[in-house]
Structures are given as structure tokens and as C-alpha cells.
């Protein structure tokens, strides 16, 4: 049970990490990244590091996401297509 859950978390972690890099829409990338942080927070909790889980959930999933979104709204949302 525990190992299966760990496997699910790690698979989701790798999947969200790859998706966040490859997302063309920067807003989508930021949201995926916050999902990554949330899963990471769950992982910290499973590794019995509740202090880190709290930090990751508050800073990683909360504050940095908002700061990234603010930056995107202040600049441009889509990544430049190559060769155009």
C-alpha cells in the first residue's frame, strides 16, 4: 500500500515536471508547476518531514505560483514560436 502510493506520487511528480517544461502556454506551465509543488508537499509528509511539507505547500504551491502568474500577466503569456 505504502509503496504503491509512493510510486503513484513519484510518477505524477516526474510527469508534472516534464509537462511543466514542455507546456507552451506559460500560465499552464505555472499551474502544472504548482501541482508539482503540491505533490512534493505530500511526498515530504510521507517522508515524515512535516515542517518541509508546510513550507512547500505555502511557498511552493502558494506564493511562488502567484508571483509567477503576476510576472506572466506583466509580460507575455505565450512562448515565442521559433522561426517566426
Amino acid at each position: 500500500m505504502g509503496t504503491a502510493l509512493n510510486l503513484v506520487f513519484i510518477t505524477l511528480l516526474v510527469a508534472t515536471a516534464i509537462l511543466a517544461v514542455f507546456a507552451r502556454d506559460l500560465l499552464a506551465a505555472v499551474i502544472i508547476f504548482s501541482v508539482y509543488s503540491l505533490i512534493m508537499a505530500l511526498m515530504w509528509q510521507r517522508l515524515q518531514a512535516p515542517d518541509l511539507a508546510l513550507t512547500e505547500a505555502a511557498v511552493g504551491a502558494g506564493v511562488t505560483t502567484v508571483l509567477f502568474v503576476v510576472t506572466i500577466f506583466k509580460t507575455r503569456r505565450r512562448e515565442e514560436e521559433e522561426g517566426e
Binding site: P50, D51, A53, L54, T55, A58, V59, G62, V63, V66, L67, V70, T71, F73, K74
Partner: protein, 249 residues
């Protein structure tokens, strides 16, 4: 050709990393070098030496106090850099793009936020003050306060929230984390110990353990308030838009 070279390089790097990881001691093994030297000392001595029930807080604020002080300085430097580039918001003429959003927030959202923000702040106060007993502490609580300010700002707008926490409140508190940390460190020296040891050997023996706990809690409060205000100020200076000064004919 170039891609192939890059691929080869990455493959070699991956092979090297996997090889190193395979040779690392297994996770959670009690025979690990990390688990045989420092950790037993922390686990056995933390409560007696740092007078904090939560060993993590004892390690972060006491054993590795220098490290944490550096982190606090880093956060303050981040704020200083953001302010140097973007500038502080000016009262009265500011707004954020959320204020001018075409989708106004509904009554339900406003009511829920008004109801939830005090509860979030309450939880963060608990996290800060309970840091030396249970998981949590200054950083976490400060980040949660920052998060509640972000929620409030996105719903009620920059004008409202900068009226609630005006600059004259944030100004002195932004440096609170660094200031309190340094002050408590120096207080330790005044008390006859070393910098940042919290130890007061010259103080009355009965007062000594309680004093260490109080100083730890003081540092937690400083880090919490400072972190919260730094995050709020960074958010404000990032989302602010300034009203053009209307030319009065």
C-alpha cells in the same frame, strides 16, 4: 550533429548520475554515515541543549542558527532587489490589474474570503507560536500570512489591502527577521555565551532553560512577521500599476 552531441553529453551525464545514485547508501538505513554521527546527538541532546521540544526547530534555529540567519538575509535581499528594480507603491494612486479585471468577483467569493482570511491568519499565528513544540515555525507561518494577503489582494484589490497593511507598518517589520536574529545572537554573547547559542550561563540557573525557549520563540515571531511583510511587499511592488496623474485643465 549538434543535437547528437548534446544527446550524447546528456546520456553520459545521466549514466554518471545514475551510477553515483546507485552507489549511495540506501535511504533510511541506520548504518548510514549521516545517521551515525550528527543525528544521534541531535535526537538525544536537542531537548536538553536547545530547550525546544520540536527537534527540527532546535536544529534550524539553534544548532544551525548561522545557516538560518543567512537564509533570512537572502529573503530580505530579495525584497531589496525587487524594490530597487520595481519601486515601492505610492499611496492613493495605485491599482492592480486585478482591480480593473473585466470579471468582477462575486458576492460569494468576497464573503468567503472575508470569512477565511482571519482564520488563515489565526492558523499562521498558531504555526509561528507553536513552532518549538509542533511542526511549523517562523518561515511557514510567515509564508501562510503572505498567502492570506495574496488571497485578499486578488479579491479586494491592491488599494484596499495596502490600506489594511500600510507602508508605515510594513517598513519597520520587513527587517524584523534579520534584526531579531542578530539581536538575539548578540544577547547570547551579553549573557556570557557565544553568538547565537541562546545560552545564558551567567543567568540564574532556574531562569536559564525558560530563557532559551523564550528567545527561540522571539526569533520565530521575528522570522514570521518579517517573512510575511517581505512577501506582501514583494507582491505589492510587483502588481502595482500607477495611475497617470490627471492633467487638470
Amino acid at each position: 550533429m549538434k543535437n547528437l552531441l548534446a544527446l550524447l553529453f546528456i546520456a553520459a551525464l545521466a549514466a554518471l548520475l545514475l551510477y553515483v545514485v546507485a552507489n549511495m547508501p540506501p535511504m533510511g538505513d541506520p548504518e548510514n554515515p549521516t545517521a551515525t554521527h550528527v543525528i544521534p546527538r541531535y535526537l538525544e541532546g536537542a531537548e536538553e541543549e536547545t530547550h525546544t521540544v520540536n527537534v527540527i526547530t532546535g536544529i534550524i534555529l539553534n544548532y544551525r542558527g548561522y545557516d538560518t540567519m543567512g537564509e533570512v538575509t537572502v529573503i530580505f535581499t530579495a525584497l531589496a532587489a525587487a524594490l530597487a528594480v520595481l519601486g515601492r507603491e505610492r499611496r492613493g494612486r495605485i491599482y492592480a490589474y486585478v482591480d480593473r479585471s473585466g470579471v468582477p468577483s462575486s458576492v460569494i467569493v468576497r464573503t468567503m474570503v472575508r470569512f477565511l482570511v482571519p482564520l488563515i491568519v489565526l492558523f499562521s499565528v498558531y504555526t509561528i507560536l507553536h513552532g518549538e513544540i509542533s511542526p511549523g515555525g517562523g518561515f511557514q507561518g510567515g509564508a501562510i500570512i503572505g498567502g492570506s494577503m495574496i488571497v485578499f489582494t486578488t479579491i479586494f484589490g491592491l488599494y484596499e489591502s495596502s490600506r489594511r497593511i500600510p507602508q508605515k507598518v510594513r517598513f519597520p517589520l520587513e527587517g524584523a527577521a534579520v534584526m531579531v536574529f542578530f539581536l538575539v545572537g548578540v544577547l547570547g554573547m551579553v549573557g556570557g555565551g557565544d553568538f547565537l547559542t541562546y545560552a545564558w550561563p551567567k543567568a540564574a540557573a532556574a531562569l536559564h532553560p525558560a530563557l532559551v525557549t523564550w528567545l527561540t520563540v522571539l526569533v520565530e515571531i521575528g522570522i514570521g512577521l518579517g517573512g510575511a511583510m517581505v512577501l506582501t511587499s514583494i507582491l505589492f511592488c510587483m502588481i502595482r500599476e500607477e495611475e497617470e496623474i490627471a492633467v487638470v485643465a
